[in-house]
Assembly symmetry: C2
Homo-oligomer: 429 residues x 2
């Protein structure tokens, strides 16, 4: 074994960073044996240097992250600050000064992955980010290495633990969204400002990363259709149950039937209770992958948290250190397929639509005509009514999102349709 | 991209080999783009050269596998023959003649993994074998790379599709073992001679491989305790249901509480219906991994079949080809931890024991005394009796296998115990 240690600069020492530092210390011998050389924490960049950080030598702590990555003797920079800046500049500076990078930064990777990969490639350095998607669950590496000889057609997953906790709570207790969110906040599963989670921004970033890797093409954050789950109601869960379904916030990346284009989207959807994703409870994450040869695979585990995320970071750290000792780099960005990313209107799926209608003869015929005119075929329809008020629940066969939007627009114009109570996609069938 | 192709020799062209060849042809452009150079099928060694093999140039087919691996211009040998010889000699010959190896051979890896890794290392070549365990499910790579910075404590999995199909059938229909086996055979899920599957030899080989990689130590096939599932009865399933459990053939690799030793075993066991492994249906495989930092992860997918296994082989092929282009090798064997492999007697778990006893007063007291004398604490006991015959069902708290064996031996000597109807371990709680 080489005795000269590999030097690691840690940027950020919050929930994840402190756990990375702790494991680097307590498992130093194991890491050295697995890498083939010891790893040494050479510096820790933080915002609040006065905070006591158990187990970290205060002499290593600095507020000058830029100086740390510019030192020139750093082998690997571990970036667990999050957000776009200063993380982006620090990472590119790290490459320029000879370091490889391990990052857990989904927002940055989703927005600027291509540029960061290019910078890594230009300087012959590694950029690894297993921790950016689904915490500890090995997903990036299986997609870009294990399935490198296969053709992935679909990635369907629960990639946000906060929203899964809320939806699971609504499902199991009948609670409304706000009540379930309050409980998630009280238990620490949701942040004070839950927007990034509940509006699907976090999941959309992960969808962009997953789609890019799965399909060997570039998918930008803007390419991902995004719908949050704040409008999901207890009534939606009752409707889902009637269909033998539950509701999950899903990230869905699909290749079109002709293989020439892909789509990526995040939205709440009904999935059958028999689907393995339906039984993913609490804050857990799970991702289904469908490919030509392997068939259906599922990866399941904790999607967030200090320790699980640190596990993913350290797995990458070991790989990057090994590459460095071997004078090589791992697989970089693979975007050769250069596929079109189609808009949401091209997505084909099934829909569950609840309409408030007038309770009089002929309404169903009117509604059915609108569906037919837009080429949306109806699978089942259920009427319920009393006191002049009625509801119609329509479940469609597979149709394009554009056709469905057109249908809904036309439905709203009908005198007999008082409102569209909810529209939800049905997936996983 | 490099234009000179990497040359691949395929040993074996059965269900898996023919699928590997097919995908290499149909997905040649994708493989080239992902590797950075084209890959060319340079030769296919088969036993029956006269068989028509669609899509394979007859000029590539040879019966002389040895000459093929000795050619000297082969970059990667893909071994999908199976069995110990001639596979072992062909693989070592391949290393000696400059090739890296991708293998799907669980029996060989479990028996001679250390020697093969040593041969690969000596010649500076790669030995990859993702397909040897759980077919298409990425498991070897996640364990040896993604979790390389973590400490794995337990691997618990369904790694044999044939036996899972049979047990699932028994569970869902109430069928006996023979009836379920017959159906599995008729549907092609069981081979004409099902011994390797139903007696747990196949799962034991996979357990040895998994334990070695998970714990960074050497676990030989002989170290794995093995018990088949041919004795599992419809009555056992009824008992399991009463406990809220089902029965699965599990491969279990565990680190001892003090971390100094490990165990590996394969046997049927009751697991709670709430455990994610309980809902693994048909011929699917799934493996649970528990580690210090990541927590609980699960990997699920098709565990066998030509296409899924080919997917795993091709993922390895891409990795090995990339390594070759970079003039490097991937992580080799990691057995530095050099842990003791403890015998089955040291395993600590819970037990479900059905006894046929005389239906007279004092029997329960006698039986309970025997458990107490051997230090096995009883959790629950249930008595059922009529016409002088009775049964006692005892579920224990956690106890060592040695203590339980001693208990059972002593129970058999009691006059009032007419027989031990079944002993089954209870896992996953």
């Amino acid at each position: 074994m080489r005795t000269r240690p590999l030097k690691v600069a840690l940027l950020g020492c919050g929930v994840v960073g402190s756990e990375v530092a702790r494991i680097m210390t307590t498992h130093a011998d194991d890491l050295a044996a697995r890498i083939g050389a010891p790893v040494e924490l050479a510096g820790v960049a933080v915002r609040r240097p006065d905070r006591v950080r158990e187990g970290i030598d205060p002499a290593l702590v600095t507020t000058d992250a830029t100086a740390l990555v510019k030192r020139g003797d750093i082998d690997v920079v571990v970036e667990v600050i999050g957000g776009i800046e200063p993380a982006r500049t620090l990472i590119t500076t790290a490459f320029e000064h000879g370091a490889s990078v391990v990052s857990a930064n989904k927002a940055l990777l989703a927005q600027d992955g291509a540029a960061l990969h290019a910078a890594a490639g230009q300087h012959g350095k590694d950029l690894y980010y297993e921790a950016a998607v689904a915490g500890a669950i090995p997903l990036i590496r299986p997609l870009r290495e294990s399935l490198a000889g296969d053709k992935v057609n679909r990635v369907l997953g629960i990639v946000n633990g906060t929203t899964n906790f809320i939806l699971d709570k609504m499902d199991s207790t009948g609670a409304g969204y706000q009540e379930a969110l309050d409980e998630a906040t009280a238990l620490g599963y949701a942040e004070a400002d839950p927007t990034a989670d509940v509006e699907g921004f976090d999941a959309a970033a992960k969808a962009a990363i997953l789609a890019g890797i799965a399909f060997h093409t570039r998918v930008r954050l803007d390419d991902v259709y995004r719908e949050g789950m704040t409008e999901v109601t207890a009534a939606d869960f009752r409707s889902a149950k009637e269909m033998g379904c539950t509701i999950k916030l899903l990230a869905i990346c699909e290749r079109s039937a002709d293989g020439a284009s892909v789509t990526a989207r995040v939205h709440p959807a009904m999935i059958p209770l028999t689907h393995p994703l339906a039984s993913v409870r609490g804050a857990y994450n799970a991702v289904f992958v469908e490919s030509d040869a392997a068939g259906q695979l599922m990866f399941y585990g904790p999607g967030a948290g200090g320790s699980p995320t640190a596990s993913a970071v350290l797995g990458d750290l070991v790989a990057v250190c090994r590459n460095r000792l071997n004078g090589t780099t791992g697989p970089g960005e693979s975007a050769y397929a250069d596929l079109t990313v189609s808009p949401m209107g091209d997505v084909v799926t099934r829909y569950h639509i609840s309409l408030d209608v007038a309770d009089k003869p002929g309404v169903l015929a009117q509604v059915a005509t609108v569906f037919a005119e837009h080429g949306v075929s109806i699978d089942t329809v259920r009427q319920q009514g009393k006191d002049g008020e009625a509801s119609l629940v329509v479940v469609t066969h597979r149709a394009s999102d554009a056709s469905l939007s057109g249908t809904v627009e036309a439905l709203r114009k009908l005198d007999t349709v008082r409102g569209v109570a909810s529209i939800m996609r049905v997936e996983g069938e």
